[in-house]
Symmetry: C2
Subunit: 301 residues, 2 copies
C-alpha cells in the first residue's frame, strides 16, 4: 500500500477508536520500543530531574520507559529477570549490577548503559565526573581560607559519594589541609544533623569547614550548626555539598555546591542507548561530564 494511503487509512481508523497493538508489533519485530530504567528510590528522591530528563528525551524518539524503582540492592536480580522477560530493548542502570546479571543481559543481547557508574568494566556509561567535582568544591572551600576540614561521607558502597570524597580528600591533601573529623551518613538530612551533634558530643569543634557528600547532609549540618550549636555559617564554619538541589538556593540555605548537568547527561544517555539498540557491537564508551560549581553564602567568596 502507498505510504500516504496507509497513513490516511490509519488516521480514519483511529477516529473510530482503532489503535495498532504495540505489543503484537513488539513480538513480531522483536523490538518493544521500551527501555528499562533501574533507579534507586533514593536517587529519585534526591534527583527527581533524572527520571524526568530521561523519560522526556526518550519520548522524543518514540521510546517509552519502564521504571524499576529499587529500595534495596538485593532487588536487582529480580528486576533483571523482569527486564529479560519483557524483552526490553535496552537497560539504563543507575545501580550496580552483579556480574551474573551482566552475563544474562549480554547473553540476551540487551544493551546496557550505566548512569553515574563509570567504573564498571566493559559497559558503556554516562556520568558526571564526581571525582573532579570533589576537587572543585575542595578548591572552593580552600580558597575561602579554611584548612581544618570535617567530612560527612556517604555509606561505604555509594559509588557517587565515594568518588566525590576521594576528589575532596586528594585535593585537600595536595594543599596541606587536614581532615579533622569524619562521619558516615546516608545522603539524608538527618545524618547531616547527626554528624554535627556527634562531633560536638565528642568535643570536636576545631573544624573551619564541613564538606558533605551531598546537599541534603550539608543542609542538615548547617541547620545543626546554626540551630543546635549557635554557630554562624560561614563566619564560624563554612559548609559545602553536592548536587545544587533546589533547597540549596533558598534564602534560608544558600549552599555552595557542585551541580550535575543532568539534561546533557540524559541527552547523552538516550543518544548512546539509541545507537546501541541499532548496533549491538559498539565499544563500551564512557562519557564523562564535568560538574558546575554553584556559589552560595555558606562558603565565603
Amino acid at each position: 500500500m502507498a505510504p500516504e494511503k496507509r497513513a490516511h487509512i490509519l488516521r480514519a481508523a483511529r477516529e473510530l477508536g482503532y489503535r495498532p497493538n504495540v505489543m503484537a508489533r513488539a513480538v513480531a519485530t522483536r523490538r518493544s520500543n521500551v527501555v528499562g530504567l533501574i533507579l534507586f528510590n533514593e536517587t529519585n528522591r534526591h534527583h527527581p530531574g533524572v527520571l524526568l530528563a530521561l523519560s522526556q528525551a526518550f519520548s522524543l524518539i518514540g521510546v517509552r520507559v519502564m521504571l524499576f524503582l529499587l529500595e534495596d540492592v538485593d532487588e536487582i536480580g529480580a528486576v533483571i529477570d523482569h527486564i529479560l522477560s519483557y524483552q526490553l530493548d535496552g537497560v539504563i542502570a543507575a545501580a550496580p549490577i552483579p556480574q551474573e546479571d551482566l552475563d544474562h543481559l549480554a547473553a540476551a543481547q540487551v544493551p546496557l548503559l550505566f548512569y553515574n557508574r563509570p567504573g564498571e568494566d566493559g559497559v558503556a556509561s554516562v556520568s558526571c565526573d564526581h571525582y573532579a567535582s570533589g576537587v572543585l568544591i575542595a578548591r572552593h572551600v580552600l580558597a575561602s581560607g579554611a584548612r581544618r576540614i570535617a567530612l560527612i561521607r556517604s555509606y561505604a558502597e555509594a559509588f557517587v559519594g565515594n568518588e566525590r570524597m576521594r576528589g575532596v580528600e586528594e585535593e585537600l591533601a595536595r594543599n596541606g589541609a587536614n581532615v579533622v573529623a569524619e562521619f558516615r551518613g546516608d545522603f539524608d538530612y538527618d545524618r547531616g544533623v547527626a554528624a554535627v551533634l556527634d562531633w560536638a558530643a565528642r568535643g570536636i569543634d576545631d573544624y573551619e569547614a564541613i564538606i558533605a557528600a551531598n546537599d541534603m547532609m550539608a543542609i542538615g549540618a548547617k541547620d545543626a550548626l546554626v540551630h543546635k550549636l549557635g554557630k554562624r555559617v560561614p563566619q564560624d564554619v563554612a559548609v559545602a555539598g553536592f548536587d545544587g538541589v533546589e533547597a540549596s538556593r533558598w534564602l534560608s540555605h544558600s549552599i555552595a555546591s557542585v551541580d550535575q548537568p543532568i539534561e546533557h547527561m540524559a541527552k547523552a544517555a538516550v543518544d548512546m542507548m539509541a545507537l546501541r539498540i541499532e548496533n549491538q557491537h559498539l565499544p563500551a564508551e564512557r562519557r564523562l561530564f564535568p560538574g558546575r560549581l554553584q556559589h552560595g553564602s555558606s562558603v565565603a567568596d
Copy 2:
C-alpha cells in the same frame, strides 16, 4: 503437564538463560500486567513518594508500571493514544483527562482510576480529602489566635490547591476571620517568596498568618518574611502549608502542615485497580482519605 513438573522445567530452562516472553503472553492473553501511570512532573517533584508507593504496591501483585510524566496538560491526548496502543491493563491518572479521551478509554474497556481527583463524574478515584485538610489547617491557625489571614493559592486549574483553599476559606468565614491578602502561586518556593514581597510592595502588612496551598510556597513565604522583611515566625506572622514535605520538618523550617496518607492511598489505588482489571463493571466508587495535621513551630500551639 503437572504443575510441579512444569515449574521444574521452567527453573531448569531459566538457568540456561531462557525467560518466557511476557510480550507474547500479553498478546495471547490480552493481558499485559502493566498499568499506565499519568503524573505531572510537578507532582513527582513535590511528592516523590507517590510514584514509589504505587510502583511498590503494584510490584507486590506482579504488575509493572509504565510511567507517563507530563510537563503540560496538552500532552494528555498523546499519552492516552500511547496507552491505548500498548493495551495496558489499566490507567491511574493524577491529571485531568478530557472527556473525549475518557470515551476512548471506556470504548477500549481500559479501567481508569483517578488519583487525587475525586471530582470527575463516573470514574473511580482514591484521593485525600483536601477540602477537609483545608478546614483542619484553618482551624489550627485560628486556634493560635490569628484572625487576619493572607492566602497563597495555586493556579486556577489546580484541583488539589483549589480544594484545600476552599476548605480554608469556608472555615475562616465560619469563624469570622478575614482574608486580607491573596496571591496566586504555582506550588513552587519562588512563588511563596514572591507573594510576601508583592504584599510588602503594596503596603499590605497587617496579616497575622499566611496559609499557602502547599509547603514549598509556605517555606518560601516564611523565608521571605524572615530574611527579607525581618519578621519573626510565628510571633509576628504564623505560616502553614500542606503536604508535610521533608523540608517542613527541618530544624530550620518547622512548618505546620497537613500530611497525606500516601501509603494507604497507594494501597487503596492498587487494590481498586486490581479489582477493576478483573471486573470491568464495578461501580465508580470514590475513596477519600483524611489528611493528618502536622504541628510545627511556624504556628504557635
